[in-house]
Symmetry: C2
Subunit: 388 residues, 2 copies
């Protein structure tokens, strides 16, 4: 297998784009990535796209054919993958495999979601399709409800507090305030989070990631070709994916995501690295409790210690392990299919030393992305390194 590098990245601002269509968003992100890689479209051999619910959100399936068409990339193969909120990360993994295998050289991986074209309740119902429709959603268990169950159990087992969860939101809003692409640009206080409206007890509005529009793109090439396009290639050291039960009721534990643990173990094995080697990590904080579980399940902190570590600032920029420098899903926004690709964009910027406005992790050499689908039925992890 060949080594694979990211040679270009780009994204749209995340937010409520009333004036832009799905087509517009994907083109904007794609063109920025192509400009970043100094690459003409004619050089691209294949396209992978991650989007979750375009069928329900914009009435359109066959979504990568649409993107290839709109970007003038025909007749290259264009393949959509879907794994709920992990769609972007899984698309990145397919692109990685296509290049690693030698089947394709230059591959563009996009992620996008246009969520504000339908009423918010319809968007929430579409998102519910990421969990178990027959055994959960049909009975009323929406996503906030499922993560609220996990949060409550984490509080019971480990003494995690609502203030510790709020600290995740405070940190991620702070990071987002330094990211011009972020949905939210303002800082929040612990008090603001704690006083916000209850969505599903103990989760409050500021514990939840927003519904956003947006797109992100990365361009992959064999590492040996990468310097034809960029002086700062980012090598993908590992790409790992794992699955777990769709319904929470089938799981042995509510306080860990098995798919995260399996994917992280495989990724560290492939990269021949350990959690302590990671300089910056984007984790899947669809809810604040999700970030706390992620930093434990990946192995940055012992089980049960994630809340305390966050509240004590250990996941801030400049501290032990900077988590979600982009602002994460909570602060940067969560256009579902775009998120996994955006994570790779942010880590590429960090490893290239190009993260702006004070959020650069000094000397970052190795980074990681952690993208989760649904309530944890899919997890995909990538480990990346600034190429020598």
């Amino acid at each position: 297998m060949r080594k694979v590098a990211i040679i270009g990245v780009g994204m749209t601002e995340f937010g409520e784009h009333w004036d832009k269509s799905f087509r517009d968003l994907t083109a904007e992100a794609g063109v920025r990535a192509m400009e970043d890689a100094n690459l003409a479209g004619t050089k691209i051999d294949a396209l992978y796209g991650g989007t979750m619910a375009a069928g329900r959100l914009i009435g359109q399936e066959h979504i990568t054919a649409l993107i290839a068409d709109h970007m003038g990339l025909n007749p290259i193969p264009a393949t959509r993958v879907e794994a709920a909120c992990a769609s972007g990360g899984v698309a990145l993994r397919q692109g990685y495999m296509a290049v690693a295998s030698g089947i394709h050289d230059i591959v563009v991986v996009g992620g996008a979601e246009k969520m504000t074209d339908v009423p918010v309740n319809d968007a929430a119902a579409a998102l519910g399709g990421a969990g178990d429709q027959e055994w959960e959603l049909f009975l009323g268990a929406t996503f906030p409800a499922l993560y609220a169950l996990m949060a409550r159990r984490h509080m019971v087992e480990y003494g995690t507090t609502e203030e510790q969860m709020a600290a995740v939101a405070v940190k991620n809003h702070l990071n987002a305030s330094m990211n011009k692409y972020a949905h939210f640009q303002s800082k929040v206080s612990i008090e603001t989070v704690m006083k916000s409206k209850v969505v599903s007890d103990p989760l409050k509005l500021f514990d939840c990631s927003p519904i956003s529009d947006g797109a992100a793109a990365v361009i992959l090439a064999p590492l040996e070709m990468a310097r034809q396009f960029t002086d700062t290639p980012v090598e993908i050291l590992a790409s790992a994916q794992a699955s777990d039960t769709l319904a929470l009721s089938s799981r042995k534990s509510l306080t860990e995501l098995r798919a995260t643990k399996v994917a992280a173990r495989k990724a560290f094995e492939q990269a021949k690295l350990a959690p302590a080697d990671i300089d910056a990590c984007e984790v899947h904080d669809c809810f604040t409790i999700a970030e706390i579980m992620a930093v434990e399940d990946i192995g940055f902190f012992p089980k049960g210690a994630g809340g305390k570590a966050t509240a004590e600032g250990e996941t801030a920029i400049g501290a032990k392990i900077p988590i979600n420098t982009s602002g994460g899903l909570k602060g940067c926004g969560h256009p579902v299919g775009a998120t996994g690709v955006k994570q790779a964009v942010e880590i590429a910027w960090q490893l290239r030393g190009e993260a702006e406005n004070g959020r650069q992790v000094k000397g970052a050499e190795i980074g990681m992305t952690h993208n989760v689908g649904g309530s944890g039925a899919t997890c995909v992890i990538h480990v990346m390194k600034r190429a020598d």
Copy 2:
């Protein structure tokens, strides 16, 4: 890259399965494929699944996580791909790439669609998402309407007749009557087709494939490992995919599918073969005109000669090039995501000499599948050979 073989196949009966859920159908096909390969689930390294519109048809996305869960395959990577009616073929291509690359050894590829849980108009609207929602469907151009435009233009340019199109349906119903898995089990006459209700002039009811439920699965392994599982491995000689514009209005020609031509050319190059080498081919006959265009665009007949060749029996079993021995989409049924995988199942049976009830192509050694998404924006082609 490693050589890849199909070591097991299985499918459900296609039809209206009022008593079976999406879960039931995928499990049935998967278990049959595993039994065919004498394989325990614990040996499977990854799952790829093709399904088009589960979000709209059963309210469920994240569909391969559901399958992996229901089949007890966790925590292996489970990845859904979607390319409208080509979802199954594209899933097969991703599985092929995963094995060819050396990343995974044993990979199960499934395709499924449960279409009868919603009213037929909702299913038709969901299918419309395979074309261009903004530029076609929104203006009233459903799938039958788009293919009717192609049919009319083919009639104008090449003198193709409605009776020639009807001959496709007659042949495919005949073949389906020899396939116990087929949605339709009865033969039809030219007169029946010609007198059936007009759906979108010149296409009549019997020119159209039906809305079906069903699932199909194939299991892949490196060719060098294949005989551990089966005495009759089927080697995948080529896997090629191409894209075209989503909307018909953007195309130079209405009487050919460019994606088919590009994918076929690439597939023949990779396999080092020509159309005359193919002993049996499953093509994407969502409408009768689609089969006529396919046999021309692949290169079995000159452009414009497909209708005449069909009417003269050249695509029947035992004739020049047997097309759609399974009954095709028209006769065997079209559970959208399942179709591309079912094509591979049928070709595997043909190459293993196991096609039943009189539909076996004598001495078939090389076969081909041709799976189209939407009105031709995606095409994926596989060439297969009975392994020596």
